[in-house]
Amino acid sequence: MTKQNALTIITPIAKDKYDDLFEYLKKIRLELEANQHEQFEDIGTIHYCRWVVIDHPHRTYHHTTDESVKAKLVFTSNYDGPKNEQIKDLCTKAANVIDAIYCYCEGYPIPSERTPESRVAYLDKHFVKTTAFYQGSPGRTLNQIRNEENLRNTLKKIIENGKWDNMSCKQIHGKIKHEVFAMPEFSWLKEKAQVPTVNYFGLIGLGIILLALLPLIIPFVLIIHFFYEKNDEVFMLKRSQLREGQMKLLESYEDLNYQNQFSQLVVMKKGMVRLIAIKALFAFANALIRNLFVTGKLMGIPTIHFARWVMFDDNKRVLFFSNFDGSWQQYLGDFIDKSGWGLTGIFSNTTNFPKTNFLLTGGAYDEEHFLAWSRSTEIPTEVWYDAYPHLSIKNVNNNTRIRTMLTQSLSEQCAQDFLKII
């Protein structure tokens, strides 16, 4: 199974080049909005990518931990295959885009020294490790997603145009299977699709570890509550009190089609205890993502294609990025409805979060303040590329299910279930 990965590259922007960079990023954004995405398409393995700018004195609304820091450009992508190949592809197949953007960044090779190798070396140098990474359709390559979409559309056409009176579901399944297998464009169906399933052994193991650690966890949570949470500065604003300009800017990038992105920057609370808490929660989250959240839902949220957390700046700050279906309101509402405690656990360790209790309660359940907090920590995404804006993550996973069931021999009941999902 080819792995999907997350790339994060953070580069300092040359001080006198801010405006030029914004101008160029805007140009790419407008091209993408006009459906010109060949450069990203050509690489063939990118599901999503984006550029955001952080620490810009006027453009973003965040206090940095250090006033003298320079604005930085953050590139993130979700792609198939190994990291080295991805960076190499960017530096060869999309070299002109990379040059046009990174020429405004500090330390990028000057034109005469630009070679695939020097570009790769530059991006590699600024690579930042992902702390936690969720995939809505683990193992599905871009190519597979496209193939399976094509398969589903073809099956639908066959069903719409056929006459199925007096046939059992099993017979219908057999007939369309035969028909599709005869089509040369679906020769890839001979390869079996590998789909991860919930790993119960892993979960049991995780449960045992947690139980064993309970004597440590309980006092730790009590310490957090009585010595830290009580003194926290808490976020008290409502959505109506947020900066109008910031809101307008964020909304101007939203709902251009049925998918959206979310980029967020938060600052860690000071001290080792908070660092331990967040690291432990990330480790827990990663374990659940690997073993439990493998079928298209992150803590019950059924709309996320990819999400990642990146700790950077000597663990002083956290970036969060996600790509999701539907509107912002829908997405954040889902977070509160489905996974309030998980989010609270992680973000309660960052500054200025709505009031929490015992690490996991309060916080995200405080609907109005949580929504306002989410907006106020969100950062504008300058460029966002989305390889399949017309497919929801439910569609992607359903298409794989259709493919898997098509290739199997099915009982009457299973064949009926198969026809239901087309």
């Binding site: 639908k156 069903i159 719409e160 199925w164 046939m167 059992s168 579901c169 219908i172 409502k238 959505r239 109506s240 009190q241 947020l242 109008e244 809101m247 909304e251 101007s252 939203e254 709902d255 251009l256 049925y258 059924p302 279906d325 539907g326 509107s327 309101q329 829908q330 509402g333 509160i336 409805d337 359940y365 405080d366 609907e367 109005e368 017309h390 929801s392 439910k394 569609n395 359903n398 009926q416 026809l419 239901k420 999902i421 087309i422």
Partner: protein
């Protein structure tokens, strides 16, 4: 349980005024703040509140309510710093580029083409909601009111007349407005599955998250400041939102001919002749109720014909595969009840009830009840859609975007809401379908057109009666 202060809440949000068969919504512009405030000062005692009429009291023949746009509040004299306390959708109004995308107001529904409320139209400041038990009573009452505001510095921009069609139907021919949430503490009781906290509809009370909705709390003293209740969290500020809510109005023109032509074309007999039964059935599958109101999920094959306002039903137990009421049908999308996406029953109800609105639609144009053979009304017909909610983002806008326009609900791929979500013009390879879940294979009805055109709209603040009195003091 928190009891609502019914005598301070304007009536229309709690009571539907179902015995008021005619209404005139008058859109006004404030020309002279001083005169307008004086007029408000005389008007407020006449506003209908939400207290039920005592049994022995004579029935009223008219009702009156009032609502304001953000611009209207400023023109009456509300300080800009105080306006900032209101939620963003109300402050910005229905027409911003982002909101237009969320609403799907494109092509013929483009706000630039609207008759009112759009960027090219006159400024709406106030809407006066005038109701009467019949047309004459309503219009006489309106004339009486008009005489007072005519010389009081207000200019009438336009009025929207609405009426109730026979059997409470809308122009496509379906009984409308059956399902309404029951507000806890309002005096009305209903199924617990359909009962929501008052804060979903009235500011100043807890909502379905058990927290207080974002009520405008102001702190720049002006006018008769002490008429306003204090902020509940003791900040010393004043809660101008308490007992008020937000009113959404959208004028939707209905293309009855296109609606029934599409149904007729997609349900013909094999020899190409009209099959009225199948046509009605297809339309009912799209709506989710039969013309007389009976829910399709309970009567999947045939209209029981009798008028049926039955509303205490769900989908989880008997229709989770959509074989009776399709996933894409209008009423199932706009309120998924106990079968929200793939959640369990209880969870579904909890989530569905966080996105409810109180609907108050009224019809305009000639009385015409559409059917396969009666599809051409005389002149333009439509609905003056209006609804109430405390959080415009999470309620009205969420329903319009996430449940109606978004084509990938449940396991669907290309199915927007057949009544309110379909686009007029699709992109080159974009499909617009209605899928009827069936066994052995699903049936797809293709090429769904758009049957409604937005002609105007706006977001209004629907304040408490005491707040109207306060507003009257702003430019005294």
């Amino acid at each position: 349980m928190e009891l609502l202060e019914l005598n301070d809440i304007q009536g229309y949000v709690i009571r539907g005024y179902s015995d008021m068969l005619y209404s005139r919504f008058v859109l006004l512009e404030v020309k002279d703040p001083k005169a307008s405030c004086k007029w408000l000062g005389q008007l407020w005692p006449e506003l209908t509140n939400a207290e039920p009429t005592p049994f022995e009291a004579p029935r009223k023949d008219t009702q009156l309510n009032i609502a304001f746009t953000a611009n209207g509040l400023v023109h009456l004299g509300l300080k800009r710093d105080n306006l900032k306390a209101f939620c963003a959708p109300f402050r910005e109004g229905m027409v911003t580029p982002h909101r237009t995308r969320l609403m799907g107001d494109f092509d013929s529904s483009d706000p630039l083409l609207w008759r009112w409320g759009g960027p090219k139209n006159e400024n709406v400041h106030i809407v006066l909601l005038v109701f009467g038990k019949d047309e004459n009573t309503c219009l006489n009452y309106y004339e009486k009111l008009k005489q007072v505001y005519d010389d009081k510095g207000l200019q009438e921009i336009k009025y929207l007349d609405g009426k109730t069609l026979p059997e409470n139907k809308e122009h496509f021919g379906f009984r409308d407005g059956i399902s309404q949430p029951v507000i806890k503490g309002s005096g009305r009781v209903g199924s617990p599955d359909n009962t929501v906290n008052p804060g979903e509809f009235i500011l100043g009370y807890k909502n379905n998250y058990n927290v207080y909705p974002d009520s405008p709390v102001i702190d720049h003293e002006q006018g008769e400041w002490n008429l306003l209740p204090p902020d509940t969290d003791g900040s010393g500020k004043k809660d101008i939102g308490r007992n008020g809510t937000y009113l959404v109005i959208r004028q939707l023109q209905q293309d009855v001919d296109a609606f029934w032509s599409y149904m007729n074309d997609n349900s013909k007999n094999d020899d190409g002749t009209l099959n009225t039964d199948e046509s009605v059935k297809l339309a009912s599958k799209m709506i989710g109720r039969w013309p007389n109101g009976a829910p399709v999920t309970l009567f999947p094959d045939k209209d029981p014909v009798l008028i049926n306002d039955f509303n205490d039903f769900g989908y989880a137990k008997n229709d989770k595969d959509g074989l009776k009421c399709p996933f894409g049908s209008h009423i199932r999308r706009s309120n998924p009840r106990d079968n929200f996406e793939d959640n369990k029953r209880k969870e579904s109800l909890l989530l569905s009830n966080r996105h409810r609105i109180i609907r108050r639609g009224r019809m305009y144009g000639e009385t015409h009840v559409g059917s396969p053979t009666n599809k051409t009304p005389n002149g333009e017909v439509g609905i003056i859609f209006n609804c109430f909610n405390a959080d415009i983002n999470r309620q009205f806008e969420f329903i319009q975007f996430a449940w109606l326009n978004y084509p990938m609900n449940k396991q669907l791929y290309n199915d927007p809401d057949p009544v309110l979500g379909a686009k007029e013009n699709t992109t080159l390879d974009e499909q617009q379908n209605f899928t009827i879940q069936a066994c052995p294979v699903n049936k797809t009805v293709k090429g769904l057109p758009r049957f409604v055109t937005v002609k105007g709209g706006g977001y209004f603040f629907f304040p408490a009666v005491s707040v109207v009195r306060f507003l009257a003091s702003l430019s005294a």
